[in-house]
Subunit: 492 residues, 2 copies
């Protein structure tokens, strides 16, 4: 298989699909819409998980596990939530196969093994969890409950793309229960801030924090907070959401607690999640026509060392230098792979590490031995340096920090250049068509206007951004008064 | 809810069920046979996962993720495997709900959203994985593949028990592909040894390594290696299995590779797994009539410090001692909880930490302040000591090691006392009825004999143990010649 990708310019969508497969991140499976996350892709996801998990625990959350299945009667209890997901549910109706009498060696569903009540495979777990919390909560002393779960969920999407939209995906979902409305809102915001911090400090991906319009609010929530990122093709990507659920689920599942005055009250709720979709966001934020570009903090290997040699003796000399450097780097908590495979040539190794986005590549050849240098190449900007052996460790430590921050700065520059303020609907359409990106425009706050703009342009309100600047104006579409600009974009 | 358990003597099965719930480990859910793993139980599972994951990676394995669903046509490809699981499969037949025209506010399965091909929820992933490996393997250079996955699986069991047998459970499943038969067998054995090491060094649970008889071999495997543990009620528990799959799956999915001579060969396979069932094994190996007993290496908190005070001033003084001790312990990588809750009394805290099996409890009261001591209580043998402040850290470090090893020694002693050699079938039945445990007996190697013994006694062959002692003899049932004793037991 050739490793060369189609360029972003030629076909952005194809570039993405090719990159995911050629960088060995994921591939489509035999099951419609379900992906296989390959070891290299999964290693990046594990790094994300580990960091997020730490951040959740540092803010007082604990993990638990709830069932994959939701009985239909529980699923439909919170009507808006049920309505929001009903059209994309995988449904288990039977629990046994039997030999097919008409086809030797084949099996068929046993018609006698029909479930009394169908089971929905969780598209999200509010229903099963709030039905459980009901038994855990009697008094304010039982609150707050701050639980997260790492799980797979299924949403039967019609058009799927690796990582970005798959029928089954991996995610974490937090489900918290609180005594007061205010505490629940604070939790919702705190988690949205946590997501933003993760995106910027670990993924090097700038995000805009805000809330969703009613149209885009999670089914069953009062308010959805979100972080929105901008991809290199000018389309927005929702990277994480944190929902203030009010008392909707408490009411649907009758979850009440005795408050400090002994009065029965409904519990206040939040839920929040990020998913393996973040892998898609990570890829599209940084990668280039040569392949994946990874921020060092999420790279399975931060450094790869490639020996360039003609014979065993050279290899031995190079290995001695490489192993010394490797162990020094490891002492500094840097993950290093010394790529000694003898089945492929150095050029092929270079190509592989490039397409797989290893942040720093070190090459050591005979000339380097003579000069007591190593060649250090950066994946982010494709530059190279020759560094003396005794300076190499410090150089790499510094370089990894620089790459991490350079990626964020580069993405931030691009993102900021692609937020365009417009004041007329003509401008709106022109910018959307010619430039893309976020369009910052006044909006009259009505779903009607939002729907019409969507119909006409395919752009939606990505978020009503957090801002201190309450510039008022007139809706770009209806001319009605508006208290704040919002961000429109076409979105993944 | 009263925290007092029924005793093991009174009703072992009830004791287990009560303990799991009262120690806040897990509970039954609204979904038949599916459990909710509560935060305290999940924290123990996370410790197990982290350690196993490290051991898998240290032996060259990487993680990946394959789909939850297996299309029926793939599921049935390896006939023995399919036959083995067909009767306990959850089956997805539809992908959409719709409003129920006869019941306002209710949903029903949309009859127009029937899948063309039913999807089986994975009871194990050989089928979907080998269908994938087919595309990954062309040459010996693509081998070995050493992949593990952490996942949920579903087996529609009729009789379920928390952790021990649930319709959905959590597990890891390794699936490896090899060039030679020998390499695959070595992998299978290496993993079985790894499981035994984990059981003994981390769970403090002694296990017997061996292979399964044909009757008990995994559906689709050539040979199943296993580790078998003995619970306190004299029943055996299969704690982990590692399967040499031969070329069965390679043949079913047509997975061939060009060997070093350029000749096409079928690939050799292994698969292996341990599951959340280990939680049940852990509980039943160590716990007592007071509740859970945890080996320090798997305890969410290894040490809990409880202050005993009458007023704010006392609490402040105690807190200062406690915080100093806590930070010293944390420096030594010991996890500590300082339980300052003011909503419950010290006695209630003691009861909770006891039933939850915290290995070491430290209490500090006014007298301790005077004497510059702390009271240190061991959960494993319920003894207490008063230790001077300046010796407390070293004492606890040492104590945790001692508890870890004491638990193993205690369980080993019990296990060894409960392996009984018998030479007649009358003795066999008597021991099984009156004493239980493993029965070491000669067996003629036939499934027929094994089946008859099972019919008559409910005991099965737990394993043909690894042994250098090839004592020959005569089958305890048929009198036919036997080359080795095997272990029978009633089992979970």
């Amino acid at each position: 298989m050739g490793k060369k990708l189609v360029t972003r310019e030629e076909d952005y969508s194809k570039w993405y699909n090719e990159l995911v497969v050629k960088a060995d991140l994921a591939e489509n499976s035999a099951v419609r819409g379900c992906m296989i996350i390959k070891p290299y892709g999964y290693a990046i996801w594990e790094k994300m998980q580990a960091q997020l998990d730490k951040m959740f625990k540092d803010t007082g959350h604990v993990n638990a596990y709830f069932p994959l299945f939701v009985p239909k009667s529980l699923f439909e209890a919170e009507e808006k939530n049920a309505e929001g997901f009903a059209k994309e549910c995988a449904i288990v109706t039977h629990y046994r196969l039997q030999n097919d009498p008409d086809n030797k060696g084949k099996l068929r569903v046993d018609p006698n093994a029909k479930l009394e009540e169908e089971l929905i495979i969780r598209p999200t777990s509010e229903a099963i969890i709030w039905n459980t919390y009901k038994n855990w909560i009697q008094s304010y002393r039982d609150l707050p409950i701050l639980i997260n779960q790492w799980a797979n969920v299924v949403r039967w999407e019609m058009r799927t793309r690796l990582f970005l939209r798959t029928a089954e995906f991996l995610w974490q979902e937090g489900h918290t229960a609180h005594e007061t409305k205010n505490e629940a809102i604070e939790e919702t915001k705190m988690i949205n801030d946590l997501y933003a911090e993760f995106a910027e400090n670990f993924m090097s991906m700038p995000v805009i924090k805000g809330i969703k319009s009613k149209n885009e609010t999670f089914a069953g929530a009062e308010t959805t907070y979100c972080i929105e990122a901008l991809m290199q093709d000018g389309k927005a990507l929702q990277a994480g959401t944190s929902h203030f659920l009010g008392q909707n689920f408490a009411k649907a599942f009758d979850v009440k607690f005795a408050d400090r005055q002994g009065k029965l009250q409904y519990v206040w709720a939040t839920s929040w999640g990020v998913s393996s979709r973040l892998m898609g966001a990570l890829i599209m934020t940084h990668s280039d026509d040569h392949g994946l570009v990874l921020p060092p903090k999420l790279a399975p290997f931060q450094v790869v060392i490639v020996p360039i040699y003609k014979n065993e003796d050279e290899l031995n000399e190079i290995s001695s230098v490489a192993e010394t450097l490797k162990s020094e780097l490891i002492k500094n908590n840097i993950s290093v792979k010394f790529d000694t495979r003898d089945t492929i040539r150095p050029g092929q190794k270079f190509a592989q590490h490039e397409i797989q986005g290893v942040p720093v590549r070190i090459a050591i050849g005979p000339k380097d031995l003579q000069n007591k240098t190593v060649e250090i190449a950066r994946r982010d900007n494709l530059t190279k340096d020759y560094i003396k052996h005794d300076l190499a460790t410090d150089h790499v430590i510094h370089l990894l920090d620089e790459i991490q921050s350079n990626l964020l700065q580069r993405a931030l520059k691009y993102r900021n250049e692609n937020i365009t303020r417009v004041d007329t609907f003509d401008e709106f359409k022109k910018v959307l068509e010619n430039k893309g990106g976020f369009i910052s425009a006044h909006w009259d706050g009505s779903s009607e206007t939002e729907n019409k703009i969507k119909e006409l342009t395919k752009a939606t309100i990505r978020c009503i951004p957090e801002t201190d600047d309450n510039e008022s104006g007139n809706c770009v579409f209806s001319g009605n008064p508006s208290g704040q600009r919002v961000l429109f974009a076409k979105a993944y």
